[in-house]
Symmetry: C2
Subunit: 350 residues, 2 copies
């Protein structure tokens, strides 16, 4: 059975300011490799890598059609479709649009729904996990991916594995919100808890069925918005009024926590990271434009020379028009900077 990759590229991504901007969120930046995170996501499941995969569908923010087309062209991938959301409506709407799109294309394919901005070290091993998940999805399960938790991370949600279905596949016993440090440590100690990668694999008809059961307004609005979509350049634009009517909810809340079909492939050990803040990005210390005379700093630059003298554990990010200096252990403060710039009316920098 064919797998239809659907890349969710709706993130606004101000957490990696000043490099990520409204016009160019983090998935479109070269943060880890010499390709952007969006390109890496597409290449991970490219038809030329594994013919189980159809050309990818990308569901993205209204302003990102051109950057997506350009970035796919750069890596010689022809998309199945680029679908633009007139406004963001969270991941349940994306799952609904993706499922309706597959249904409209006349086949009940499996959908592999993936965020565009996650890093995965070992793509081959990830594809093996996808194969395993695909067999369970063919049996009607809505699959999640349980990443092997190697430290008590408090920035991720967790999946508690339940009854074994088959080798490496279990039912989901519970989804757990981002825990505090102590709870996270208890998950590690107990075992059977995995990081929720936010990646899903399911049959289109199963997702539409579960949406009908648990979130019928989302199914209807998304299906209507797709039915009345129009082509705009290289992309398909969802109908604005129809999509505006769609409740904004995550696929986790709207479907996964309610369905009895939730299952998990685990442990998935592929070097997965949700690059959620600068502290998770590697430094470019060897770069010619960086003079780092300090210790353990994360320094990135777009071309401006950055010199750090006698400082340690800092994040220093320089673009042509903005510089951020923050503490590695407090990378979330970037949000406060972005808020302050908003307050000052500096949308030009966001």
């Amino acid at each position: 059975m064919k797998i239809q990759p659907v890349i969710m590229s709706g993130g606004a991504g101000t957490r990696l300011w000043p490099m990520s901007r409204a016009a160019r969120p983090k998935q479109f930046l070269k943060l880890v490799t010499d390709k952007t995170m969006f390109q890496e996501t597409a290449l991970r499941v490219a038809p030329q890598t594994d013919d189980a995969f159809s050309p990818p569908v990308v569901i993205a923010g209204a302003g990102h059609g051109a950057v997506i087309a350009d970035q796919l062209a750069e890596i010689d991938i022809l998309p199945g479709e680029i679908i633009l959301e007139p406004a963001p409506r969270n991941t349940a709407a994306v799952a609904a649009v993706a499922s309706a799109w597959v249904e409209a294309h006349g086949e009940d394919a499996l959908i592999l729904l993936m965020p565009a901005d996650h890093h995965i070290e070992d793509a081959a091993r990830f594809r093996r996990a996808v194969s395993l998940a695909a067999r369970a999805a063919e049996d009607g399960f809505i699959m999640t991916f349980g990443i092997k938790a190697n430290r008590p991370h408090t920035g991720y949600g967790y999946i508690e594995a339940g009854e074994t279905i088959s080798d490496g596949v279990c039912r989901v016993a519970a989804f757990k919100e981002k825990p505090d440090k102590k709870t996270a440590q208890s998950y590690l100690d107990k075992g059977g808890f995995y990081w929720n990668a936010g990646i899903f694999l399911f049959r289109a008809s199963d997702m539409l069925g579960e949406l009908e059961k648990h979130a019928p307004e989302i199914r209807k609005a998304a299906t209507d918005a797709l039915a009345e979509s129009v082509m705009s350049g290289a992309a398909r634009r969802l109908d604005e009024d129809r999509f505006a009517a769609c409740p904004a909810n995550s696929i986790d809340y709207a479907v996964m926590e309610k369905t009895d079909r939730a299952a998990v492939v685990a442990p998935v050990d592929v070097g997965w990271t949700d690059i959620g803040s600068w502290s998770e990005v590697a430094s470019q210390s060897g770069a010619p434009d960086i003079v780092d005379l300090g210790d353990r700093n994360i320094i990135r630059t777009d071309g401006t020379v950055v010199a750090a003298a006698g400082v340690s554990d800092l994040i220093i990010i320089a673009t042509g028009d903005a510089v951020l200096v923050a503490r590695k252990d407090n990378a979330q403060e970037v949000r406060a900077v972005v808020e302050e710039l908003k307050k000052r009316g500096r949308e030009d920098l966001l």
Copy 2:
């Protein structure tokens, strides 16, 4: 008797990198007020402020004729002369050239020799100290200015005052090199020790006489270089070969530590600072291009937005092409950065 201000503008000033550059050392930057330090120096002794002063002579590095002419024009000061050194030869040569220039202009004026890159808070009080010094200089003393030491600064040289000559004027008992912390504290405890401002006041003929006695090669080379100087645009350029023959020495070593005419006006309490590193520069925290969510940082920018989140006691300096991040208590490390950039052949940034 007229006082001829001579502004020494030979500093290369990489200590304030990345704002200070070879082409624009710190004296030409607006670091403290809305005027450059060079402009503040010229205005402090402008003929329009006090008619005791003749139009200033500026002795500067070869590449700085135009910036000096421009900056003087901006503040409506017509220079007595702009004299350019083909290569730097330290302050004794400058004192010799200045004295020879005054002599060549047919009058034995007093020369007030001042670095272009010092900040003085209270210009009126400084001029009163100059008046006091002038009376002693007319009696043949080579005057220094002893700044009231309000903390055990280890970055300045000290003057130990000796026998009183008149009210507020003493002979110099000794010049002291930059002391360690303990010695500096002992100076403060004992009293009678002052910061050496590096400002001098003397009769041209007295300086030439002392140079003849203690450093005749400097006197000869400097006098010859001036005699064979040529006009080049708005500036007078010292003869390259003649000036190259001049030994490079400071006025302190070449003359002041040897002469028996050394005296000091003290205490001079005018809010004097030798802005020698970023830690002595005030932050522009209120500026629209700065978002400082940290504590006690010194942030300066040329227009790039700088955001500091959760960091404290840092120096963050941003120009169009370079960013410096250093610790306030370790501002001297900037030299190491400049050295590293030299090693990498990045003269474009120096």
